[in-house]
Amino acid sequence: MGRTGTKSAKWGLGIAAVVIVVVIPSLNAFTPPGGLFHVSDFSINLYGKYLCYAILAVGVDMLWGYTGLLSLGQALFFTLGGYMMGMHLMRMIGDLGQYHQPIPDFLVFLGWHNLPAFWRPFDSFPFALLMAFLLPGLVALTFGYLAFRSRIRGVYFSILTQALTYAACLLFFRNSLLMGGNNGFTDFKFLLHHDLRVPATQRGLYVVTALVLLLVYAGCRWLSQTKFGLVQQAIRDSENRVLFSGYAAGYYKLFVFVLCALIAAAGGALYVPQVGIINPSEMSPEKSLEAVVWVAVGGRGTLVGPILGAIGVNALKSWTTRAFPDLWLLILGTLFVLVTVFMPKGIVGLPEQLHALRRPFGAKLTPAAPGPPEPEQESAKTR
């Protein structure tokens, strides 16, 4: 964190932001297709997806790297936000679906003739946007309140979030929930009177996603430097001391938990129109674990790390499923193991680790692996 305060780092971040928000979409819009600098429509779409994942990763990092809460259920909030937006997009298809009926296709082949009551308000975009934040927020509030009130911590908290997301996944797979079941929502056509299938709309969505990412990053950076952020990091380092110092740690944790759920929901709401499909398998425990892995690979406890991790790991996945379709799980799995064991600070912390290795002989060598003891409760106990 200290490193990113330096002037050169600030310049670096600024240039990166300009590249992402301005340069890449311009290359897509203004250069001729097939040219050397052209960014294809497919790529813009892909990058937009990566940036949505980056938003999710920043949320996970705020919880894990800054507050010490490993939540294995962030994908649940991401997907809930996506579903709310998806419901609106399904209504916007109108009667251009496969069956040319005014209600969504999956309801038609389930035998419904009229729209169920709870679908009707989603015709309006503001309502859908509100619900995209409200529903995940409420779920987070309820679960978080119950969990933090009973001082559930550490590993138990992680497993409980995993159970929550698994239960929700099972629930959403049921066709009787009238949320698309296993097929989910797909075949979107219009958003706010823009045709989703046109490259200009996809470019616009990409820019919006990039701006939201910047906003989230800036907001989290600001928060981590306020007094609230200090308490948050103190909770990560030793919650008991924070409690003894008179702070109601539960409420701080609850606030961060709900905030990160909202961040994830924002990512989800932007993800759905770009990918074109939402389905309950997005809220499976494996997806949440993937998000955690992005943060771990990128470097937790920093805010740039998760962004790098999300983009990097997903790019690697896109490439390996193409180049080595039979081996990519092996590659990814080995990568995670190596990063966890040997690079606890992730990519962002790699220069520091290598620097530590290069100390001259005779001076005390700090081992590069497994790294300094983590500020968890266990090591606090042994001090």
């Binding site: 159970a163 629930l171 081996l327 193991v337 983590e374």
Partner: protein
């Protein structure tokens, strides 16, 4: 018991030819059998009906073989077809002698030399569904005289359900000679069902009352049909309704006990799966996301042992990299023992300890290479073990293929027995018993042995134990290996009940974590209680809501809410430290 029948059948087909030579009665039956095989349609049905009355063991054996494509047709030089059976024992070139069905002698050519065929040389006699059900009915009638009580009982019930009046005298004469109580009850039920079709209303009334008294589950539909009939006399309808009520009450109790048993069996599976996790998690603070893959290791070990007892096991892996122009590949082929009969069925007894050992070795390997760096970092252990689980899944896919592999249950685990209409499957009873044995053994290990004492010491306070001279690294290794070995045993069980594939582990991960966390980390008693509790609750909810998923969701939410109230789980181990 059923196995005994099969063995008897095989033995009599294979070894002694003397049993096939018989007196004049036997030869008439044989001729009829051969005729039945060669004929078709109505003629065939008629001959089969006649054979049903023959009460001959030979008929039962041949009909069993016929329904399994075991009867072959030999084209003799004079253009007639001769039905034959092939002997079990084959010579070096895989050919066996053929036994003629019509006279029980070996098939000989014109010079009197015994002919030998392999199974692919001859066409088997065709059967279709209708013929097979006719054969089954004949077998059922013959089965009325079967030495095995369960076979007699199911044969009796089938005859009753057929509603054919001509079986009445057969059943009545059987009732006079029957000694076994359950079979007598079944005969009474079958007789009542048949009498329902009698023209005399008094007989019908008596039959309906009898069915109600017997609480015959299979007659529910028939009784409802009687009530629904428009020409039904009021007293018959009344007593039919009474019978239906008493049967439905009995059904409710059957379902109740059945649900409890299902809950116990599901709970015991969860228990075996979660016990290993409880040990590694509770005693070491390591979240092992690769626990599911340890289960898969055990299941695959079972598969390998099954193949080694059978035809052999081999695999080959081709990598997408080229070296000197050729792709890199390596493989392994092990010859099989080609065991048969009891020798082959006993593979499971060997597979159990091998599953334990192979999973324990895998766990040991993982512990030495990766886990030992992560003891103070539980959240990192989660990530690293998840990475390991991805690697292991892909390895399974590469070695065994992405498909599920076939693991057959040994025949002594197949089937079920019933008490008062509640059926208990042998494999599930086996799992329950073995789960109890495993829990007991673990408890013994942890409380009565010195190793167990050391393990508990390390769990309570690792640093203090190290200061007192306990070799914590060695304890860690052994504990992790033990926990993984238990998972391997669970995998061996699961191979009997479900499918074995690369993603076997993923199905059980969330459930096993829930069980461990609910039971209280580090507590064996807690794991037992929570596993049985979750299993029973899941089954009861499934029974009441009618949907398998709702039950699971409710159980998960209930656990989450319960943990708000008791965050440590059911049985917490209270220490003095704050965390």
């Amino acid at each position: 018991m059923r196995f005994g029948l099969t063995l008897l059948g095989l033995a009599s087909l294979g070894c002694c030819c003397c049993s096939f030579a018989g007196g004049p009665d036997a030869s008439a039956v044989r001729q009829k059998l051969a005729q039945a095989i060669l004929s078709e349609g109505q003629e065939q049905q008629r001959l089969l009906g006649e054979l049903a009355d023959s009460a001959s063991k030979i008929v039962a054996d041949v009909l069993n073989a016929w329904s399994r494509d075991g009867v072959y047709l030999y084209n003799s030089p004079d253009n007639s077809k001769v039905p034959v059976l092939l002997e079990e024992s084959e010579d070096a070139s895989g050919k066996a002698r053929a036994i003629r069905i019509d006279n029980g002698q070996y098939l000989k050519d014109a010079q009197g030399v015994e002919l030998r065929f392999s199974r692919s040389d001859l066409n088997s006699a065709d059967t279709d569904m209708r013929l097979r059900s006719a054969i089954q009915q004949t077998l059922d009638t013959l089965a009325l005289a079967d030495p095995d009580a369960a076979a007699r009982r199911s044969a009796v019930l089938k005859l009753g359900n057929s509603r054919k009046q001509r079986y009445l005298p057969v059943l009545q004469s059987r009732l006079a000679r029957e000694t076994d109580a359950t079979v007598r009850k079944a005969i009474a039920e079958a007789l009542a069902l048949l009498e329902l079709g009698a023209p005399d209303p008094k007989v019908q009334l008596a039959a309906v009352e009898q069915l109600g008294r017997l609480r015959a589950l299979g007659s529910l539909d028939v009784l409802k049909g009687v009530v629904a009939r428009t020409d039904c006399p009021p007293d018959l309808a009344r007593s039919a309704r009474k019978a239906i009520n008493s049967i439905e009450e009995h059904l409710w109790w059957v379902n109740f006990f059945g649900t409890i048993f299902h809950g116990l069996s599901l709970g015991s599976i969860l228990l075996v799966v979660a016990l290993g996790l409880a040990i590694t998690f509770g005693l070491m603070g390591i979240i092992n996301m690769a626990h599911g893959e340890m289960i898969a290791v055990g299941a695959y070990a079972c598969y390998v042992v099954q193949n080694l007892f059978g035809a052999g096991f081999g695999f080959s892996i081709t990598l997408p990299f080229n070296f000197a122009g050729k792709p890199i590949s390596f493989g392994l082929h092990l010859p099989g023992l080609n065991a048969a009969g009891w020798y082959y069925e006993s593979y499971f007894l060997l597979a159990l300890p091998l599953s334990f050992i192979s999973a324990a070795l895998a766990g040991l390997f993982i512990e030495r290479t990766v886990i030992r760096f992560l003891y103070r970092r539980p959240l990192e252990s989660l990530l690293a073990t998840w990475g390991i689980s991805l690697v292991m899944q892909q390895c399974f896919r590469m070695i065994f293929g992405a498909n599920n592999v076939q693991v057959n249950s040994p025949s002594w685990l197949l089937g079920h027995f019933a008490i008062h209409d509640v059926s208990f499957g042998y494999n599930r009873v086996f799992v329950i018993c073995l789960a109890a044995v495993i829990v007991f053994a673990t408890w013994l290990l942890l409380t009565q042995t010195s190793l167990g004492l050391l393990i508990r010491a390390v769990m309570q306070n690792r640093s203090m134990a190290a200061c007192l001279g306990v070799r914590t690294t060695r304890i860690n290794m052994l504990t992790f290996a033990f926990g993984s070995g238990l998972a391997g045993l669970a995998g061996a069980f699961l191979s009997q009940i479900g499918n074995v594939g690369p993603s076997l582990g993923q199905t059980y991960i969330v459930d096993s974590f829930m069980t461990v966390v609910l039971g209280g980390v580090g507590s064996i008693v807690g794991t037992v209680c929570s596993a049985l509790g979750i299993g029973t609750a899941d089954q009861v909810l499934q029974q009441t809501t009618g949907s398998p998923v709702t039950g699971k969701i409710v159980v998960l939410v209930a656990i989450i809410i319960f943990l708000q109230w008791k965050p440590g789980g059911l049985f917490t181990i209270r220490g003095r430290s704050l965390d």
